[in-house]
C-alpha cells in the first residue's frame, strides 16, 4: 500500500470513531443545512440556475485558452502583469521575485485554497517573510498550525470553546472570552498587520474574461483590504476559475453564496481590474496575476474528467458527504478534501498515490445531488476507479478476484455448487474485516435459484 493510502486509513480510522469530532461537525453542518433552503428560495428555479451555470462553465472551459488570453490582454492594458505558472514551483519563484523586488518583510493574505495548494506560507516562512492570514477562520488555523479543514469554512471542526482556548494559549486572552471578544482581538492584531504589510495576496473566486478582472467573494472585508491596502497586490488563481463575462456574475455570485453558506449574496463581492489608475486616489501601485496550472491541464485533456474544472469551490459537496462528515477534512491529506477533492487529486498529484480516495466512497451520490454546477461527482469517482484499474494499479489479489468473479458470474452452475455451510465458512474468512463489527454472514442451505428449480421441478 502506498504511504498516502496508509496515512489515509490511519487518520480516517481515528476520526471515524471520534464522537466529539462527529458532534461538532454535525452541529456545524446542521447549521448550514438549516439555512441553505432559504438561500435557494431566491431562485425561481434552482435546478435551471445550476444547469445554466454548468453551461457557462462548459463554454469557459471548452475555450479556456482564448478566455485566458482575453483576460490577460484586457487586464494588462490596465497595468496588471500576468504570470503563467505551470506548477507550484514556478508560482513560488514568481512570488519570491516580487517579494525581493519590493523588499517585502510582511505580507497579508486572504483565504485562498490555491495558496494552500502551493504551500505558500511554508515557502514564505523559509525565505524569511512573515505571512499573515487575515480571514478569521484561516487566522485561527494558522495560529493552530493546521491547514484548513474545509474549503469554505477552514475552522469548521473547532467549537467556540476550542477557539477561546487556542487564543488564550497563543495570544494570552481570557480563556472564557466570547466569540465577539475573540473576533475583536483578531481584528486588532490584523489591522496592524495591514499597515505593516508590503504585499497583499488574494485568490480569485472568478477570473472574468471579457472585462479582464478578478472577483473575490468574502464575508469579512479582509480580502478587499488585502487587495487595496498594501502597495502590491498579488492574485493567484487556478486557470479553471474563468467565466466568460462580468454578466455571468449575476448568476454565479448568488449561486456561490447559497451553496457555500446559505446566504443570498455574500457580504463583500469585489471586482478588481488592475492596479491604481492615474486618476484614482487609492489602490495598490502594482498588481500581479499568477495563473496556475499545476496539473489542471491534465484534467482538461481528460474528456471525462474535464467537467470537474467547472467547480466553483462552494463546498456543498463536502457538507453533503457522509464520508467527509465522518473522517473530516484533514484525513484526506490533500489540499482539496471531500468529493471534489477525491475526484481531482489523483489527476493533480498522481493516480497511483491518490486513487484510494476514489475508492473511499460509498457512492451514495449525494455530492452530485447538491453540486452547485451539477458536476457528476460520483460518476467521476467511478471513472477514476476505472482509470486506476486500467492503468494496472489494483493489487494482484484484487485483479484475480474479478477474473474469477467474471468466470463464476457467467456460469450459473458455479453459484449453486457449494452448500450453505461451505459458503458461510468461505465468505466469512474472505470478508474478515466485514465481520469484526458486523458479525458473521449466514448462508441458507440453498440459494433461491436451487429452491425455485426444485419447486418448478426443472433442472
Amino acid at each position: 500500500m502506498k504511504e498516502t493510502a496508509a496515512n489515509f486509513i490511519a487518520k480516517s480510522t481515528i476520526k471515524a470513531a471520534d464522537k466529539e469530532h462527529r458532534r461538532k461537525i454535525n452541529f456545524n453542518i446542521g447549521k448550514y443545512n438549516a439555512v441553505v433552503p432559504q438561500g435557494k428560495e431566491q431562485f425561481t428555479d434552482v435546478q435551471l440556475a445550476r444547469e445554466r451555470a454548468k453551461n457557462i462553465k462548459w463554454r469557459a472551459i471548452e475555450a479556456l485558452d482564448k478566455q485566458l488570453e482575453d483576460f490577460e490582454l484586457t487586464i494588462t492594458r490596465r497595468g496588471a502583469k500576468v504570470i503563467w505558472a505551470e506548477d507550484a514551483q514556478q508560482a513560488l519563484d514568481a512570488i519570491q521575485k516580487i517579494c525581493e523586488a519590493k523588499g517585502c518583510k510582511t505580507l497579508v493574505k486572504s483565504k485562498s485554497m490555491v495558496t494552500e495548494e502551493i504551500h505558500l506560507n511554508d515557502f514564505l516562512e523559509k525565505i524569511g517573510i512573515e505571512s499573515v492570514e487575515t480571514d478569521l477562520g484561516e487566522y485561527i488555523q494558522q495560529l493552530d498550525g493546521e491547514p484548513p479543514y474545509h474549503i469554505v469554512t477552514p475552522a469548521m471542526h473547532k467549537s467556540k470553546e476550542d477557539v477561546a482556548r487556542l487564543f488564550a494559549e497563543k495570544l494570552g486572552t481570557d480563556p472564557k472570552a466570547t466569540p465577539q471578544q475573540l473576533t475583536l482581538t483578531a481584528r486588532k492584531i490584523l489591522r496592524d498587520k495591514y499597515v505593516q504589510a508590503d504585499i497583499g495576496v488574494t485568490g480569485a473566486n472568478f477570473i472574468i474574461s471579457d472585462i479582464g478582472g478578478i472577483a473575490v467573494t468574502e464575508n469579512e472585508g479582509n480580502a478587499r483590504l488585502s487587495c487595496a491596502f498594501p502597495k502590491t497586490h498579488i492574485v493567484i488563481a487556478g486557470i479553471e476559475k474563468v467565466i466568460p463575462s462580468m454578466h455571468d456574475l449575476a448568476l454565479f455570485w448568488p449561486l456561490l453564496s447559497t451553496f457555500g453558506t446559505g446566504q443570498n449574496v455574500t457580504v463583500y463581492n469585489t471586482i478588481v481590474t488592475g492596479p491604481r489608475q492615474e486618476n484614482e486616489k487609492d489602490g495598490p501601485e502594482e498588481m500581479y496575476v499568477i495563473l496556475l496550472d499545476n496539473g489542471r491541464t491534465n484534467i482538461l485533456a481528460n474528456e471525462k474528467q474535464r467537467e470537474s474544472l467547472y467547480c466553483i469551490r462552494c463546498g456543498a459537496c463536502l457538507n453533503a458527504c457522509p464520508v467527509y462528515k465522518n473522517i473530516g477534512g484533514h484525513a484526506y491529506g490533500a489540499t482539496y478534501s471531500g468529493p471534489i477533492g477525491s475526484v481531482i487529486t489523483p489527476h493533480l498529484r498522481g493516480m497511483e498515490e491518490w486513487k484510494h480516495l476514489s475508492h473511499a466512497s460509498s457512492l451514495c451520490g449525494n455530492c452530485t445531488e447538491v453540486c452547485a454546477v451539477k458536476i457528476n461527482l460520483h460518476e467521476l469517482l467511478l471513472d477514476n476507479r476505472h482509470e486506476a484499474a486500467q492503468e494496472g494499479y489494483a493489487p494482484f489479489a484484487e485483479k484475480m478476484i474479478w477474473k474469477v468473479w467474471r468466470i463464476a458470474m457467467l456460469r450459473r452452475s458455479w453459484m449453486n455448487m457449494a452448500n450453505g455451510n461451505m459458503k458461510t465458512r468461505l465468505i466469512n474468512k474472505v470478508a474478515g474485516s466485514w465481520t469484526s463489527h458486523r458479525g458473521k454472514l449466514d448462508f441458507p442451505q440453498k440459494s433461491f435459484n436451487q429452491q425455485w428449480k426444485e419447486k418448478m421441478g426443472s433442472k
Partner: protein, 245 residues
C-alpha cells in the same frame, strides 16, 4: 387488492438475495402473484455486473452485463427486490454500452426494469397489498432508491397501508448508511461510523423495525445492530408486504 392485472413479469433476483435471502425473493413472488402477475424466472441469471463496475473493472463487468442483457431479452417488465441493482441497470449500462450495437437494447432494458415498490405503486397502481404487521417502524431510504431509482413516496405508500404498522421518520433519513459494496470492507471503519449514525437515528425514533428496499444496506446495518445487541430488526420491504396473510 385488485387481482386482475394479468401481467407477465420477469424476476431478477440479485446474486446476494439469491444466495443469502431467498425467502425475500419468495415473498416478493407471493405479493406479485396476489397482484395478479404471472412471474417467470430465468434460472440462468446471475448478477447485474455492478460489483466489478464499481471496483473499476469494467471489462469484467461488461461481460456479465452482456449476459444479463441476454438473460433478460424480450418485452416483459422486470422486477427486482433491490433498488441498487435496478438502479445500476437503469443508469450505468449505458456507460458501458455507449456507442455500441447494444445501445438500443440497453435503453429499452433500462425502461423495463423496476425496483419492487416502484413496480407495485407506479406500474400496477397498488398501494395496499393487504399486509399486516404490528409495531413501530422507520423506513431507511437507500441511496439507490433515492438517487438512482428516484423513489421516496412509493415504499412509504405501501408501508402506510400495512395494518398495525406505525410509521415514523428518522433524522437524516436521506443520509447513506455506509454500505457501499466493497467500501464496507475496504474502508470498514468509515462504513461502521456511518452505519452507527444511521442505527442511532433509527433507534431514536423508538422503532422496532428498520425497513428498506435494499438488503445490502440492511445486512450491513443488521450486522452492526447484532454486534451491539440493540433491539431493532431490519426487514426488507417485500418481507413486510408478505406479512400477515
Amino acid at each position: 387488492m385488485a387481482n386482475s392485472t394479468g401481467m407477465n413479469v420477469q424476476l431478477f433476483i440479485p446474486c446476494f438475495i439469491d444466495q443469502l435471502y431467498p425467502e425475500t425473493a419468495f415473498n416478493m413472488i407471493k405479493v406479485l402473484e396476489k397482484a395478479g402477475c404471472t412471474v417467470s424466472y430465468n434460472t440462468s441469471q446471475t448478477c447485474c455486473g455492478q460489483p466489478a463496475f464499481n471496483a473499476g473493472f469494467w471489462e469484467e463487468s461488461k461481460a456479465v452485463c452482456s449476459k444479463f442483457l441476454k438473460d433478460f431479452e424480450g418485452t416483459d417488465l422486470i422486477v427486482a427486490p433491490s433498488a441498487s441493482c435496478a438502479g445500476f441497470v437503469k443508469n450505468y449500462y449505458s456507460k458501458l454500452f455507449d456507442n455500441s450495437s447494444m445501445h438500443h437494447a440497453v435503453t429499452e432494458l433500462s425502461n423495463r426494469i423496476h425496483e419492487f415498490s416502484d413496480f407495485m405503486v407506479n406500474i400496477l397502481g397498488i398501494e395496499n397489498v393487504g399486509a399486516s404487521l404490528k409495531g413501530k417502524a422507520t423506513y431507511h431510504d437507500s441511496c439507490a432508491g433515492l438517487r438512482e431509482c428516484r423513489i421516496k413516496k412509493e415504499p412509504r405508500k405501501l408501508l402506510a397501508n400495512v395494518k398495525g404498522l406505525e410509521l415514523t421518520e428518522m433524522n437524516d433519513v436521506e443520509t447513506c448508511c455506509g454500505f457501499g459494496g466493497t467500501f464496507a470492507v475496504k474502508f470498514e471503519h468509515i462504513s461502521i461510523g456511518m452505519g452507527e449514525q444511521k442505527v442511532e437515528n433509527a433507534l431514536a425514533t423508538g422503532a422496532e423495525y428498520l425497513i428498506s428496499t435494499d438488503h445490502s444496506c440492511l445486512m450491513h446495518l443488521q450486522g452492526y445492530i447484532n454486534q451491539k445487541g440493540y433491539h431493532l430488526k431490519t426487514m426488507h420491504i417485500a418481507d413486510v408486504m408478505a406479512s400477515g396473510w
